[in-house]
Amino acid sequence: MNWWSRLLRRSRMEDQLEKELRFHLDQHADDLVARGLDPDEARREARLALGGPEQVKENCRDARGTRWLEDFAQDTRHALRTFRRKPGFAAVTVLILALGIGATTVMFAVVNGVLLEPLAFPDAERLVAVHGFTESFGEYWGFSPPDFADLKRISKTLITAAWTYGGGTISAPGAPEYVDGRQISAGLFSTLGITPLQGRGFQPNEDSRGATPVAIISSSLWRRRFGGDPSVVGRNFVFEGKPYVIVGVTPAGFQLDEPADVFTPLGQQTEPRMQNREAHFLHVPARIRPGVTLAEAQSEVALIGRQLEAQYPKSNRGVGMRVRRLQEEIVRDVRPTLWLLLAAVGLVLTVACVNIASLMLTRAISREREFAMRVALGAGRSRLARACVTESLLLGVFGGALGIFIAKLSIHPFITFWPGSLPRAGEIHLDWRVFAFGIGMSLSSAFLCGLAPIMRIPLRGLDPALRAGGRAIAGGSSRLYGVFVASEIALAFVLLVCAGMLGNALLKLSSLDPGFDPRNVLTARFAISPAALGNPEQIRATWQDVLDRIRRMPEIKSAALADIIPMREGENSLSYRTTPAPPPPSQEPIALASSVTPDYLKVMGIPLRAGRFLDEHDVAVSDPVVAIDENLAQHAFGTKNAVGRQLWVPAFGAAPVQVVGVVGHVRHWGLAGDDQSRVRDQMYYPFAQVPGPLLRFFSSVMSITMRTKTPPLSAVEPLRLELRGAAGDQALYEPRSMQQLVSASLARQRFLLILFRAFAGLALLLASTGIYGVMAYLTGQRTSEIGVRMAVGATERDILGLVMRQSVWLVAAGLVAGVPVALAAGWALQRFVAGMQPAYVATFAVMIPLLLISAFLASFIPARRASRVDSVSALRQE
């Protein structure tokens, strides 16, 4: 029989114990009667011999070894009874705890799913990403195809694969549709350890020029377009005007960085950039070979980088290679945000715990007489401590259960609320680890909350508490209260400062000039008819036709093409020189280069500073020209008036390009991010001067931009209809108004602000109720003292001042503790959130009075009540 079943049969065992002892007594008495004693006398003798029956029973129970469990059950029943008698206290406590636990559990679930859990690939800890890096551009420089081929050939420590962005129009079977795609090397799936749902990955012979066009499709495309046909492998479809044979279907949910529908072999590409060592567009995931460490792989890759640098100084000078864990790479963007939020939520939970602790302390003090009575009746100190802990653990269990329930309800809304796409969002689940965290957090916070009352358990039996008739001996606990209130103030202050700094930053950032006029501007990516991709002339003619059609529409004022759009994903950074001779590699400046048509400046409303913008006369046969922004002019020539100067851009060839105009700087990297970005120089070159062989590639990245007469998004449907093309195989996608993009560029700051504001508000509310509760309690304890003071002549004002001074001291202590923490938190925000500026003075100037006013209001009610004390009745309480 184990202790559990023993506990369950507790009442049966009690009966048996009773029966056993009764038998003993009867037997003994019978024997004594047999020896000639009077039956009554015999029974008395037998009882005396056995001793007090209750004491014997108690000792037997102890001997059973289930004592603590029985006590626990008893304490639980007692606690439940107390809760029922004071449901308000229990409800408030459980609710506060549940909110804290719920928020913390949600954040932990996100951190766990995104940052902690290994990637959903087999043996994921051996997966890495290889990067190029240069001094001037920094890390996360892509790979050029020849460099990748060399790395793949030379490396002994890594199994490498590569991918780049693709995408295009599927025109058959079914209606034309633009889909995202990826061009991948043959080994990609096997490197990642992915087994296709159907069919197979690419074979090496398919990953080369001139091989049969084959494709792997996503399971979502398979279901959407092929109705989940089980024999889809081997079927044909037309992608970018070319028939492809389907060889495989990816497992559901598979994605490299973002979802894509069509995967094609990288090696079949014939574009010139496939041979260009200076075109860094490949992502290189790799798997560390068995028995090799990350450090070994890192040093080998660095060595290969140096070898290639020596071998190809023209293209590779200053370009190094580095290895990072793939997981770090995938979550790089969100890691600091997630930790920030988890820390903030942790602060809220701490405030909640402190609040509950002070509530429980108040209750413990009001129960001091009960404790003293129990000690007097023989309860041990540890027994009472266990009773207190049981009570708080019970609150923890309820709070935790409710909190986990709240977490379960709110996790999906929270993920949807995340600005942009949260990497690995699909891998966030409330799994056992999250549950364990939630339960652990609630029990440990409840336990900590329960520690305060334990200190109130009297040390000796008949304590002064009994004699004092419940009057406060407030010395020790008022100090403890002070610590509670001050720490609540400090924590709330930290959150308030964070929220204030974020609000301040967002206000400043929103008022920044983006460098263009975002009102009434519509942008959209566009895929021209795959049939037109055959030769450069056709491509140019098709784009011209698109522009002409747009311009004829009544909704449109002006239209232009551009390969990159400010504040949207996608960029093209090129190095430039002011002399024909290359400067030292680490000093080579880089500019954001945008290929546009002449009306671009007019559409975007970018101001012209000097000279002219690109115009219709800048064509393939005329001299190559660029327009530069004022930053580039200042950096390269030290003057804004750079018209007529020359630049050498290696990507454009050896001949110099003429600067024809200087335009205003555009905050391409977002209102928040632009000031900190590495590439702040910008240049524009004519789409008409893009060399013929590159046009097919450029076609895949060109977007259209329009200034509209109507609200921009209302023009999308008419545009779609107008631009379908003769064969109905042209597609407009990702339409965005520039105002949307500007606003999205602050989405993370706004998101953080909303959350921090909520957290800070909650913390302030908790701290205020904390102050209120504590002040109400402390003044209540001092009623008789106040009565005496008033009896000897103190006025209402004096008493009000007395109480308020006490609370001001507490707030001041909290602020003293909070300021350094707030400074540290502000530093973390500046470090991890783009666009944050130190604004301590302004923030403190708002937040300190806010806290003081809250504290003032919270303590005013108790203070007023104290000042209204009638001295006679107060003294009579004695």
């Binding site: 029966k19 038998f23 000792n59 102890d62 001997a63």
Partner: protein, 114 residues
Amino acid sequence: MATPKSDLPQGTLDLLILKAVAGDPLHGYAIAQRLEQVSRGVVQVPEGSLYPALHRLENRGMLAANWKKTETGREAKFYQLTRKGRKQLEAEAASWQRLSEAVGLILAMDGVVR
């Protein structure tokens, strides 16, 4: 009843109980009776400690208990030695034997006791 009573040394009650039930199963009262009889009245079992000791030994698996009818027809809880209890009894009895012999030897030393 003139025999002087001796207090039981600490920890010997368990040993005596185990020995008492080494034969037939006995109920608590009978155990107390037997110990007193066998020791010719020298050992007075503190009845207040007897039952906690029985429960403790049962809890540790030294004793097994059953409810059975006595000869007078009443139900009583009978304790019986388990295999574990028997081993414990042998070990403790041997150790007690050694200890009491040693104490006896020391007390028998010449010239020490005056």
